[in-house]
Symmetry: C2
């Protein structure tokens, strides 16, 4: 597929280098770093093109298995501060594979209907079907991030959610869903730069939300709320990764690599034919045109 | 964006050259032709790369408008004989745009739940939300194609569906959905070749369905059923196009062009800011880092 070894540039696998157990606290994390990777932007872009083909092949393999009765799927959960680039990851990493094989869901503030249910109801409904790669742009973690920062529900209520989330995710894993959770981390300086850009270009105004500046005022509270989900909801079955996102090329490469690792972990083969191949070859050969 | 004029290679716009009112009867149609286009495969591939960027920009514009309250959307309906390449169009034309902006739905035989409703129920539920490009891999037309060919319901029942479909589509157009209907046409010789390939490669076995050969036995009945939908369900608001699909490069280019025309027809502009840009610029400039 490519001329490099599949991990060219990676001195430590992304699954290790970016795991929250390796990166240290988010408050001390450098969003412009490239943990585990010693290449530059052009090496990263070149590697992403190659690894994108690997990802596309694995996605097709997953899809093929899904079409023939395998219920397993992969779920990529994206969280991160405003402007961290969640949408860009959906576009540029999701865009590497067949869109038929994706199940993309964004979560905003709960609708009136969603508010009539527990916080995991809408999440459960949006889970990827067998054979798909699901991508959540925000997720159930919103219910312990802005909800915690602003005490949108009493602390006694959000405190219980960490364990509810762990139990929920254990059930999903048992049901065959491989979960990867990525927190995109952007620096305050880079966020300011991205907000400035959105205001400068009329074709970017629709992406600008004045509320983002209000939220930025709670930066340290968010760091604390993020650290709490890493401390309480990271485990081997549903790991959390910190994705430094000041450099978009690295964030894309890193998430691509994590998806590849998750798919490879399924140990998939092409589904066996449920028909007699020789008989069918003879039938096809006998067709007139 | 590109060095050519946007319609380089097209001597007649795809919207005219491929419309069923121009192509003549499907029974006489050449699936290896390239109506309206005088370039070869390499010119077509080069043009697709350029036009793909135009499509991606228009899709972002549609999405931006959808995010700011515009309810309009575009719906691409794909029909065609087995192996005609519906999935390849989803992958290679859908794959040109941000997957977040797509709403893809495949329709198989109705599920038990779907069977408890009228044939348009499941279609209605799958319509693209505002701002999205919906792609239907098969559609409500299945209910007058295999259903008609095999009389899965009595003729008195399927006969009524043409008018029901016209009324349904009129309502969708009135609600802001731009509809493009494409029938991918493959020759019997090319279908035999594609079936042969699927059997030769174990990584393609999952795409092979022995039933496809049985269906091929009804080829002329299908041509008749297709002609009926073109005769009875083609109109300016929800036009049918014949996409010659023996040459995959041309089918992709043609569908891309039809999508571009549909999106351009919406006359979209970037949404106006619903905030005071100058005030926000000052707020952002005052942020510390």
């Amino acid at each position: 597929m490519g001329k490099h070894s599949p991990t060219a540039g990676w001195t430590v696998p992304a699954t290790e280098a970016l795991r929250v157990t390796s990166t240290g606290p988010i408050a001390d994390f450098d969003p412009s770093s490239t943990p585990g990777f010693d290449g530059d932007k052009s090496a990263g872009a070149e590697l992403l093109a190659e690894r994108g083909e690997v990802l596309a092949d694995l996605q097709e393999l997953l899809y093929a298995n899904g079409r023939t009765g395998d219920h397993r799927s992969v779920l990529l959960v994206l969280q991160g501060m405003d402007t961290a680039g969640k949408g860009g990851i959906v576009r540029h990493v999701g865009g590497l594979v067949d869109p038929q094989g994706l199940s993309i869901k964004g979560f905003g503030p709960p609708t009136p209907e969603e508010q009539q249910h527990d916080f995991l109801w809408r999440i459960h409904r949006a889970l990827p079907p067998g054979g798909r790669i699901g991508i959540f742009d925000r997720s159930h973690y919103e219910d312990v991030l802005p909800v915690r920062v602003h005490n949108l529900v009493p602390q006694s209520q959000w405190e219980k959610r960490y364990e509810l989330i762990n139990k929920f995710e254990r059930d999903l894993v048992a049901a065959g869903i491989t979960i990867i959770k990525c927190c995109l981390v952007v620096s305050k300086a880079e966020q300011k730069e991205r907000l400035t850009q959105r205001l400068e270009r009329p074709d970017k105004h629709w992406k600008y939300n004045p509320g983002d500046i209000d939220e930025r005022g709670f930066w340290d509270d968010y760091l604390e709320a993020y650290q709490a989900i890493f401390d309480r909801c990271d485990n081997a079955n549903a790991p959390w990764f910190l994705i430094p996102s000041d450099r978009k090329w690295f964030a894309r490469l890193a998430v691509c690599e994590l998806l590849i690792a998750a798919l490879e972990g399924l140990g998939l083969d092409w589904p066996k034919a449920d028909f007699d191949v020789q008989v069918e070859k003879e039938r096809v050969a006998a067709l007139d045109v």
